[in-house]
Symmetry: C2
DNA sequence: TCGTCGCTGCAACCATGCTTGAAGTGTGCG
DNA sequence: CGCACACTTCAAGCATGGTTGCAGCGACGA
């Protein structure tokens, strides 16, 4: 590898990040997570969907690196990643990685 | 449409805005448009897709209110909307209006 | 005016992924 | 030790939207 910060690579990451929250359920989950850590059962109380469906979307969010998990006994706590919001903002064209001409 | 300032309405608009750019082609187009105005033929030179396909995605972007059109004789110039980037940033949870999720 | 070029709109096709159902893993408690 | 609970994973079905092809509209050049 020669280039470390490729524009194409950043665009791919941006697409993955944007695509992760460009969904009603995942957007709602992220919005909930901005208020603090929540376990899956807590999330279920706010998002009216099946448990396995929620788990699936949580996996997508986890795969996108937007959330982190912590097992607390029987429960699994989900929290927003430290750089999640920063990454989200950076994913928007004109913010970073793209030459923004006024 | 009656409701003007609702958290749900803002979330819906945010989803529509995010979903509009959460696509490889549309993301590329928006990134191109951040550099200035381009006609469809210009966009075609940078995005390797069919003309009508590009037109379709442009329509999606236009429907999302992210781009504006200007007819220049035979050509149609597409430009990023004034508040496009601002709307994009506002669409991210934790940025504005979304911190009061129950 | 006619022909060509640039762009847009519509209907159909196909791929992706969202949704559903059931089974599986790990943990705490009786 | 065995059961119940919380969550995850797997396989299958269905819906959404991205892609393709053709037809239509408007504008410039001859």
């Amino acid at each position: 590898m020669v280039a470390a910060t490729s524009v194409e690579a950043e665009a791919t990451d941006a697409l993955a990040t944007l695509g992760a929250i460009a969904d009603p359920i995942r957007f709602q989950v992220v919005r909930l997570l901005t208020n603090g850590t929540h376990c899956v059962c807590e999330l279920q109380a706010h998002v009216p969907i099946a448990a396995n469906l929620l788990s699936y979307h949580l996996k997508v969010l986890r795969d996108a690196g937007l959330v982190t998990t912590s097992r607390r006994g029987r429960w699994v706590d989900y929290a927003l990643a430290e750089d999640a919001l920063d990454r989200l903002h950076a994913a928007i064209p004109g913010a970073a990685g793209t030459s923004r001409a006024t």
